[in-house]
Symmetry: C2
Subunit: 257 residues, 2 copies
């Protein structure tokens, strides 16, 4: 039996819901987890509201093997994630010496004052282990199956370096994409649906595209087969190419991973 390991992503911040900020962290996290054998099954964006973060986090951590949060661990008053995570776990939270020991030399070397705001970034829930921030020092942390990371994408990506070795993944989902050049989604919907019905062990997705290619318009559909069974997705890649040829299109299969 193949083991299925799932994750949820919790994006914390008014700025994403207001449309001020375009999130890119969900995609980064999903792409980071896929080869580790962890599948992101849900994602939510919540505002900077204590009760909402606590309730959402408790739902997610009960339901999934891992939860990844981004945002709300900076120096300002609206950075309330550490306190909310502590509350969700029923733990205390305070300025911790191991976190301060990272911040003090960082700011000293730059001649920057370590004021109340910056000390706030050393607030870590009891029992949490720190996640190294190779970009701007202030650490993230792990508590149980929850990984708490920064919202700034470059800092979040840096923190993932200290997350990979903590993950026990399951069976990897294999993915093959076959590009149907010159074939519209609606042209292949029927045979694609029949194939999906015949092969319930895989999921088949179709994603149409239109783009300018020089002065011409290139259109087509990306057909994607996903399954934990590698032989099955390889077989489906061949079947998808056949469907495309039957519609007069030119299949283009991605290199085997």
């Amino acid at each position: 039996m193949t083991q299925i390991v799932t994750a949820a992503v919790l994006l914390i911040g008014d700025e994403i819901l207001s449309g001020r900020t375009q999130d890119t962290n969900l995609r980064t996290i999903a792409q980071f987890l896929a080869p580790l054998g962890v599948e992101v099954r849900e994602a939510r964006v919540v505002p900077d509201v204590h009760e909402t973060i606590v309730a959402t986090l408790n739902e997610m951590r009960a339901r999934h093997n891992y939860v990844f949060t981004t945002g709300g661990i900076g120096p300002t008053h609206d950075d309330i994630t550490a306190d909310a995570v502590a509350a969700a776990f029923g733990r205390g939270v305070d300025v911790r010496e191991d976190a301060l020991a990272i911040l003090r030399p960082y700011y000293a070397a730059r001649g920057q004052e370590i004021n109340d705001g910056r000390i706030r970034m050393a607030r870590i829930p009891d029992g949490a282990s720190l996640i190294v921030n190779p970009v701007s020092a202030a650490p993230g942390f792990q508590l149980g199956n929850v990984f708490v990371m920064a919202g700034v994408p470059s800092v979040m990506r840096g923190m993932l370096l200290d997350v990979a070795h903590r993950i026990e993944g399951g069976a990897v989902v294999h993915v093959r994409t076959v590009r149907a050049n010159g074939v519209r989604e609606g042209d292949i919907a029927d045979p694609l649906g029949e194939l999906a019905k015949a092969e319930p062990g895989a999921s088949l997705g179709s994603y149409p595209f239109v783009r300018l290619a020089g002065k011409d318009i290139a259109y087509g559909t990306n057909l994607v087969a996903r399954s934990r069974d590698k032989e099955l997705v390889d077989r489906l890649a061949v079947a998808l190419a056949d469907i495309i040829r039957a519609q007069g299109g030119t299949p283009e299969t991605d290199p085997v991973d």
Copy 2:
């Protein structure tokens, strides 16, 4: 009393959770709704799973004035949104003549066959009103307080044109941004927190930035005041500029909206 009107956004699709596709629809919807006086309070990404869509939609539509969904209304077997929305409302769903009347001439004019897959895009829940798709014909629909739109960003944006007139907004949230050039977030966290405490009628956010400016690195923090009280945000923009000057920074205030 100012009326508060809230919305939730439900992004439907395996391809966003897998990291294949970068969502941009949440931001587009949030920016579309803000001037109408509708505040997005939560957003979720769910996979193409019937039960998950039904349960999430029912939670959201009970909790918010409006719900906006994107994705899952195309011609293929994995496009299950119309059926899930119908199930959430306990309504029937079938191919509808008014939707077919839009699709038939569209495909006929292009010499494209109207096969089972394309007919599938005319599946609309009983009692729903169609949302015009000015890009590729296949309509979205509105059922109660739920607006069901396409996932392809250009099509989704086109559909919003037929949504605006159906929205009864509340009090608009006013926003002023003051850019603190040359000031780090940690430098102003303390006075910013005091200001936030003194003015509970507004929310104050801070968003640090670093970028290349020619050969130099430009850094600073964007300070954002948000409130339904316009006079308050105007007053806060002045107070934020004062905080920045006190730290030796140069404030840059956006033009009044």
